[in-house]
Point group: C2
């Protein structure tokens, strides 16, 4: 991993709820609620939050306050402030706002890439190269870590099966374009644990420790199963979303992102330190629910409660 | 495994819906619906079904037709007809009905054992010994395989943490009592993948291939993650329930058993043959929903659909 990991934790949870979780909501969460959510997440122990995406406000009104949200997040000590950008213009705005980490969405499948960012995968790599060059032109201290967030890595709703060699090629091309890290995203909820092990191994063989984290969706209920597989092949950074907000739900009840609460419970139960306090994490749901009252929140641990006698790994010396 | 595995499959799914899934329903599923469900499950490729439990009808009216359901299931060629019994009397009735496999519920935690079967764990072992002796007294061809279904193996809602050495002791005691197999059940949804790997390894070290399958609940969303962990340590038999029916839900939305549809999808996607046809399996939900219209059905794949380009391992030569 290129992002330095806090030595007191085993696994870095990157909370993507304020970005991935809010961009498709029916009601727009107010800037004030976003700030309170981010404050509460940091208070619960989260070290990295993807706080927004820099997309045209006329396309996604939910992200119109991106710069203000970043400015607030930057006041919180110890927080790695991440944001997403689909193109050069968005990346410029993100860097002007002062994000620590910038994730570029680069689809492996051509159809998804065209639909999502109006570029072919090769054009998206050229755009990444331009963005990295712009970043390198900034004064030291203003240069964010740039992550290539490879999308549709495990399958595409438009194209179906995605060629694993193409994934490796795009990972290598991302690094050659100047990206510091490459994350692998199961944008569509297609991944299975066997494939996760295989693809992460292949990409690591090609780009070594430039391979960063995993972004899994729970569309077919395999999200945490895929985390277990990724842990086995050495992945230590996972994206997740409070209440499973966001993602690409195909049908009512089919959730998007993996649920931060369930993920942290699983890891802490397994003896892996996330640095996150479960009780404080669970309490954030109420705040988020109040901020977007019409949105369903997912997750099992919030309903079932912690197990009797639960001791979080992070609470052990 | 003591139960001979069909050589054409990699993983045996033991459908427990007609037993575990129906014993707590608000409306009682009619015998006719139960028979149609079992027929449809066999038609979809399921090789083993726990069709009922032999409990006192005055306690669980849902199982009053146990013998009739077994009689019907026994007419289906190739089906391993399993049933559950909590005590000697129930076990006798199950054997009289002619089941192929009889699972005894034996709790590792004392409090759960007393609450569930009014015996201490040691008394339950003595009961198992008596049941196995009775079985051995039957004419050849009428002796079912007897499985010790160890409950609360991964934690107990009453006692909290369950001692892993106690699990091993109860597994050994079950074998010494005459049980052919020992299955490990996460009755309460407490298990995590690390614990699953560790406990299955310990029990296998103690009783070798008498260790049979895993029975996981999805109460905290970790059901399929625990399956992945169990696969790693060589488990090849999994209980699951169509629509996730049954189990011990603690709260609305917290499901019980792992969902057969999602489990089969995951395994087949991973390249593991279950012998089950996904489309036929998914079609059973409608029948079950009609038989118990007020009961919520769980599962992600039924909502999201199969992935584009999905090819089941079982459909490959």
């Amino acid at each position: 991993m290129s992002t330095p990991m806090d030595p007191s934790i085993d696994i870095l949870i990157s909370e993507v709820g304020p970005r991935d979780g809010l961009q498709n909501t029916k009601k727009i969460m107010s800037t004030d609620y976003k700030k309170r959510w981010i404050d509460a997440a940091v208070e619960a122990g989260l070290r990295e939050i993807e706080v927004c995406s820099f997309v045209p406000p006329q396309l996604i009104a939910q992200m119109a306050d991106a710069s203000e949200v970043v400015a607030h997040a930057l006041t919180l000590p110890g927080l790695n402030v991440a944001a997403l950008a689909p193109n050069f213009k968005g990346a410029q705005r993100a860097m002007q706002a002062g994000v620590h980490k910038l994730t570029l969405t680069i689809s492996v499948s051509t159809q998804h890439s065209l639909a999502n960012v109006k570029m072919t995968p090769d054009e998206a790599i050229l755009s990444a190269k331009k963005i990295c060059a712009f970043r390198d032109s900034l004064p030291a201290g203003q240069r964010p870590i740039i992550e290539s967030g490879l999308s549709t890595v495990f399958g595409c709703t438009l194209e179906g099966v995605v060629d694993e060699d193409a994934v490796v090629r795009m990972a290598v091309a991302s690094v050659e374009a100047g990206c510091d890290e490459v994350g692998l995203a199961d944008t569509t909820g297609y991944a299975n644990p066997e494939q996760v092990r295989r693809v992460f191994r292949k990409v690591r063989q090609a780009i070594g420790d430039k391979l960063s984290g995993a972004h899994f969706h729970n569309t077919r209920g395999l999200g945490l199963a895929n985390v277990v597989a990724a842990l086995e092949v050495g992945v230590t950074t996972f994206d997740s979303s409070l209440g499973g907000l966001g993602g690409c739900p195909f049908a009512p009840g089919a959730t998007g992102n993996i649920v931060t609460e369930d993920l942290v419970f699983m890891l802490e139960s397994m003896g892996l330190k996330t640095g996150i306090n479960m009780d404080k994490l669970l309490a954030i749901r109420e705040l988020v629910a109040a901020g977007i009252p019409d949105e369903p929140l997912y997750g099992y641990v919030p309903l079932a409660g912690l197990t009797k006698g639960f001791v979080a790994a992070s609470s052990r010396p």
